[in-house]
Amino acid sequence: MKTKKKKKTGNVILHIVMFALALIWIYPYVWLFLASVKPSAEIYTRFWPTKFTLEHFKFILESAERMNRPFVRAFFNSLFVSVTVTLCVMLSSAIIAFALSKYKFRARDGIFNFIIFQMVFPGFMFTIPMYILIRNLRLLNTYSALILPSIMSGWGIFMLTQSFKGTPDDYIEAAKMDGASDFFVIFRIMVPLNNSAMAIVGLFTFIGIWDNFMWPLIVIQDYNKMPLSVLLATFNHEYGAYIGPIMAGAVIQTIPMVLIFIIFRKAFLQGISMTLK
């Protein structure tokens, strides 16, 4: 009886501790957000502002333009590049994964093993040679430099192939019996049946590209083509004194990632346990 009671208090304490830790973990975000809406003088001194202001957002969206730091444009650059890459990766991965999982041909296992082999090499090994490739293609300082190197993903193909293998062939054969084309089978049968794997590939690709920093830092020098991450970093280096606007920029950079995480949180959780297999 006594141990049961002890267990119960232990459980209550555990809940309190975990909730407190959870709050500590989101505290930096809350602080960042509040910092972006309070007067500059209070950023370091007060947690809760005496008054709320949108001047920092106004500054970064309007005045920064006149300083030749186009943040609105940078936001749409990031959005355009991330969405394009994500769509391309999902599309190409689905088509190729379908071929690798549902067609029988001699080179199949070879190609699949090659994809796994590729994943052994860390990306940073290729940074400089990739820069040379993009330079030789005369694509430096273009959106293509940000998009082309990522439009297909070995990891995406791998994930979807694994998932597609689990879909019974009967569905496909039944559809083909009714005269369905391959494209119909891929996009009307395979993709909906494997929507969680599709969501994982899309989510991780989007976050990876939106957050990408080193690569665009190297290949984009033109302020008009910079993604938000790079423009924010250069602005932070050049105008470090404008703390308020920098915080506002950081909030804008963070919002899409947090938003997409909250929307697709289920896929995210599944993705973590899936990488185990």
Partner: protein, 295 residues
């Protein structure tokens, strides 16, 4: 009928191969071509213009005797020394606590995971201000204990502080990997152990830890790979300083290639770093990986 089937199979094989070969063509351009260039770079001298000049093993011997390069490698090891034990312990406690939590599991999980989707640039800015010399964290410390801590400006502390913020980012992610492993352990094992009179301590070291081995190795591999590729945080927060105590191989590689205009040397360093990282992963697997069988 048999012939028709054979024809169909052949048609299918051609189709399958031609679809997959789209990827092969793409990989030839965006993986094969850079791969070949990597080899050329390692054995040549070249400054982005003209033709690469073959120099044999000169780049490699230069890396071996370059104190700055090895300092960056030591910096990564210092980072791992702080990062891996703390994040592993934290993630483990997180996973165990989550397993025992009855209410608010989703809230706790999401709070820890939302840290993981923070943008590298944005969270570096956020923490460099939170932990600034006169920032909010130091203000709180000063009010409570009368001390301030030079988080990012002391050479002996800067790398530790960077490790701390990366821990903030990854503890939830690693914790969930461990949690997934934890919830796969059948309850009956613990019950059987309890019948044999095992206490919590024995249960943890004889059941939980051995059965969690694959998940722990996975987290270790992820953490090592991350450590060798770290770039954004030191680039944004410390710029590699103070006294190069947070200069990482990636930062060194990028400045060598694009500011000192020495891509051949930078590429050679990249190969070395990849080799060391690979070696570490191999070592961890060799030492830690155990065959686990669930009876």
């Amino acid at each position: 009928m048999a012939k028709k089937n054979k024809n169909l199979a052949k048609k299918e094989a051609i189709k399958g191969f031609s679809i997959s070969s789209i990827y092969l063509v793409y990989a030839a351009i965006f993986w094969g071509y850079p791969f070949v260039w990597l080899f050329i770079l390692v054995f040549s001298k070249w400054k982005f213009v003209g033709k690469p000049q073959f120099v044999g093993f000169k780049n490699i011997t230069r890396v071996l005797s370059d104190p700055l390069f090895w300092k960056t490698v030591v910096n990564v090891f210092r980072f791992m020394l702080y990062y891996i034990p703390l994040v592993l312990l934290g993630a483990m406690l997180f996973a165990i606590a989550l397993n025992k939590l009855k209410y608010g599991k989703t809230f706790v999980t999401l709070s820890f995971l939302v840290a993981n989707v923070s943008s590298g640039v944005a969270y570096s800015i956020m923490f460099s201000n939170l932990f600034a010399v006169n920032g909010p964290v130091n203000r709180l410390l000063y009010n409570l204990f009368g001390v301030t801590i030079p988080w990012f400006s002391s050479p002996s502390l800067a790398m530790f502080s960077i490790a701390l913020i990366v821990i903030w980012k990854f503890i939830g992610y690693y914790g969930l990997i461990l949690y997934a492993g934890l919830s796969a352990i059948p309850e009956s094992l613990y019950e059987a152990a309890e019948l044999d009179g095992a206490n919590g301590f024995t249960k943890f070291f004889k059941i939980t830890l051995p059965l969690l081995n694959p998940s722990i190795v996975m987290v270790m591999v992820l953490a090592i790979t991350l450590a060798f590729g770290i770039f954004t945080e030191p680039y944004m927060i410390t710029g590699g300083g103070p006294m190069r105590s947070t200069l990482t191989p990636m930062m060194h590689m990028i400045t060598t290639a694009f500011q000192r205009m020495d891509p051949t040397y930078a590429a050679t360093m990249a190969v070395f770093v990849a080799g060391i990282s690979f070696g570490m992963v191999w070592l961890v697997r060799k030492i830690m990986e155990r065959e686990v069988d669930l009876v």
